[in-house]
């Protein structure tokens, strides 16, 4: 169970707590944003191909019509069509998953909740295998199939939860059950219809990989993440109230079922687009809200933006790691978020005094 009072006591170092609240918050936020931008600039230069920051500047200048010597077509494509969308996708997916992780943890009152609790990733993987294995080819069709699968899950979820809103227990159970069902369907399709190589291809996607990020889905994801993030942020006080339990929230005057619906749909959409583009990258939604809580405190008005920033930084760097550690091979980033996430999680538990 989340314990807001204990979190408050243990998280903010005393010195910062004594600072006028506004100053500490603003400074940290600026630091966070700066860290994200710096990470992006550094990460774009990491990878199989050598990319200099000057190359990036030249591309931007060429596109703006400024008179500089353009890079070769292939090189420009490598940086502008592959690397840059990939870095942006890492930041956006990291932010989206972290925000939704925080939301789910508040809504279910469960410290182990993550965005995939809703079964979205199960539905997305089913949609994706239908497209890939049943022969409609990979490419953007995979993402479309995954998104449709995710939306089917959302529809089923809303249908099942229409009576009595989404009490935490019901939400968790329904999401888990639906997720398991669709995971089973995914396995069935893969076993029954897949030839060896197509199966291998879908396995990489299922593990979560940012290699598929391109400009169009990234732009879509940016609209959803920023828009959805703002909606969630506007509900910060509602989330605070929900952490105390839905009964308490209701007595505080929060329209619990309506807020739940809005937050559920927004998070489902954000998760669906993220998963459709890059597959199910685990641990980000689970760990980051807890890590962010240590810096920003448990109140969601600061927790949401900090989760977003930390999520972005984590995923940018784990992706950079995933594509360089065994270069020229690319390891799916989902593998590394787990490898890094587990020790971090244990550290966090220790910090909270739970271990």
């Amino acid at each position: 169970m989340l314990d807001p009072a204990a979190d408050l006591a243990s998280s903010i170092p005393a010195e910062i707590a004594r600072l006028p609240r506004g100053l500490g918050g603003v400074a940290l936020t600026l630091l966070g944003v700066g860290a994200v931008l710096l990470s992006m600039v550094l990460a774009v230069q990491i990878g199989v191909a050598e990319v200099q920051f000057s190359d990036l500047l030249r591309i931007v200048a060429t596109r703006l019509g400024i008179d500089v010597e353009p890079l070769g077509r292939m090189r420009e494509s490598l940086i502008w069509d592959l690397r840059v969308p990939r870095i942006l996708a890492a930041a956006l997916v990291g932010a989206a998953l972290a925000i939704c992780g925080a939301v789910l943890q508040a809504m279910t009152g469960n410290a182990l909740a993550d965005p995939y609790l809703l079964g979205i990733s199960g539905g997305a993987s089913t949609g994706a295998v239908f497209v890939v294995i049943l022969g409609f080819g990979g490419g953007t069709l995979l993402s479309t199939g995954a998104f449709i699968g995710a939306m089917v899950v959302l529809a089923i979820l809303l249908l099942l939860l229409r009576k009595g809103g989404g009490t935490p227990l019901k939400l968790v159970l329904t999401g888990v059950i639906i997720g398991q069902f669709f995971s089973a369907v995914t396995s069935l399709v893969v076993m029954a219809a897949g030839d060896a190589e197509a199966t291998r291809g879908i396995t990489y996607w299922l593990l979560g990989s940012l290699a598929t990020a391109r400009w169009t889905p990234v732009l879509l994801l940016s609209i959803l993440t920023i828009g959805g993030g703002l909606v969630v942020w506007a509900h910060a006080h509602v989330l605070d109230a929900m952490s105390f339990g839905s009964d308490t929230a209701q007595t505080m005057g929060v329209n619990v079922s309506r807020s739940r619906l809005i937050l559920l749909v927004v998070c489902a959409l954000m998760t669906a687009v993220a998963v459709a583009m890059v597959g199910a990258i685990g641990f980000v939604g689970l760990i980051i809200p807890h890590a962010a809580r240590l810096i920003s405190g448990p109140l969601h008005v600061t927790l949401i933006p900090f989760s977003a920033l930390l999520g972005a930084i984590l995923l940018i760097w784990t992706d950079a790691l995933a594509r360089t550690i065994l270069a020229p091979q690319e390891i799916p980033v989902g593998v590394f978020t787990a490898l890094i996430g587990v020790p971090l999680f244990l550290l966090l538990l220790r910090r909270r005094g739970d271990l």
């Binding site: 077509r73 090189r75 490598l78 080819g137 060896a196 594509r323 020229p328 091979q329």
Partner: protein
């Protein structure tokens, strides 16, 4: 004004030139590959082969000087291509990705199957076309619906011809096709010692308890037709379907061809391990083919469609003669 006029004239000339570009002019080659026209400035000079079959085919056509990279190696390259192979940079032993491929600035990519051209691998065909990179897929992966009687070897010949044209190695391609046709003709003249159909099981590998065998549209399927034997799973319309030991026992093959994947090194890849599996698996251990050791061993990699597939044909014919099914 003067400058403007001459620029204008230049644009008209340019437009006229591009109108002519759609017609084949001395400078580009266009072939059709799996539903898309692949055009390269002839001959292609920076070819990247995305898998071992494509690599060996390209090397066998003498294309090494025009290759910019190879990828995805499953076994040792055949000894006759070893030297040529070493002269071409190996981009990665594992699966090729979009970045790896773009680094060497290719003008033509060759792969045996369309799934290489997805966002997860090297990028979609449309995306690469916009960059001026041709994407060739082996004809074996997209058999034409209107010409169903073309077997895998016919489609391979088509590949050799297309790739020969794209890389300026037409003469070599004709030699390779002729050699393949000779082998096929020799095999089709085989006299079998039995009147009833000889049933052959082509076993590629066993993965997690599931045997993977050759179906109808495959090289082993084509070999079976040429030699006049029956591929027991020839009715399955997949290249390498996963079946069950029961299904194999049910179809009672007379001969079992085993793919030797000893270089891949996964459990069960060597011929010895496969034989051990067959003799201990309750469903199939009683079959005559197993108890009388009617086995033919061929390199697993040569059961996939490539320039080496004709070796499988020759080995199979030799095996039939050795076991006494043909003379």
């Amino acid at each position: 004004m003067q400058a403007f006029k001459s620029k204008y004239r230049l644009s008209i000339a340019f437009v006229a030139a591009t109108c002519f570009a759609s017609v084949s002019w001395a400078g580009t080659v266009t072939v059709e590959s799996c539903g898309m026209d692949v055009t390269v400035r002839a001959p292609a000079s920076a070819i990247v082969t995305l898998d071992q079959a494509s690599t060996e085919t390209m090397l066998g056509l003498g294309g090494a000087p025009r290759m910019a990279g190879t990828a995805y190696l499953k076994t040792q390259v055949a000894p006759q291509y070893k030297e040529a192979w070493e002269s071409v940079p190996l981009l990665t032993k594992g699966r090729p990705t979009a970045e790896i491929v773009r680094v060497v600035e290719p003008d033509l990519l060759v792969a045996y199957s369309g799934f290489f051209y997805s966002d997860q691998w090297v990028g979609s065909r449309e995306e690469l076309k916009e960059l001026g990179v041709g994407t060739y897929i082996s004809a074996v992966s997209c058999p034409l619906a209107d010409q169903p009687d073309l077997n895998s070897f016919d489609l391979l010949a088509r590949d050799f011809e297309n790739l020969g044209r794209l890389s300026g190695q037409e003469a070599e391609a004709q030699k390779v096709i002729a050699a393949q046709n000779d082998a096929i003709e020799a095999a089709s003249k085989l006299r079998l010692t039995r009147d009833e159909p000889i049933k052959v099981l082509w076993l590629y590998s066993v993965f997690e308890g599931t045997p993977y065998v050759a179906g109808g549209p495959s090289i082993p399927g084509a070999i079976s037709n040429i030699a006049g034997v029956e591929n027991v799973f020839g009715d399955v319309n997949e290249q390498w379907p996963g079946v069950s030991w029961e299904a194999i026992a049910d179809r009672e093959p007379d001969i079992i061809v085993l793919g030797d994947l000893s270089e891949r090194g996964s459990p069960g890849d060597t011929v010895e391990e496969k034989i051990a599996m067959l003799t201990t698996e309750p469903g199939v251990s009683f079959l005559d083919a197993v108890t009388k050791e009617q086995f033919i061993s061929v390199p697993g990699i040569e059961m996939d469609p490539s320039i080496r597939s004709v070796n499988t044909l020759n080995l199979f014919v030799k095996g039939l003669k050795r076991l006494g099914y043909a003379e």
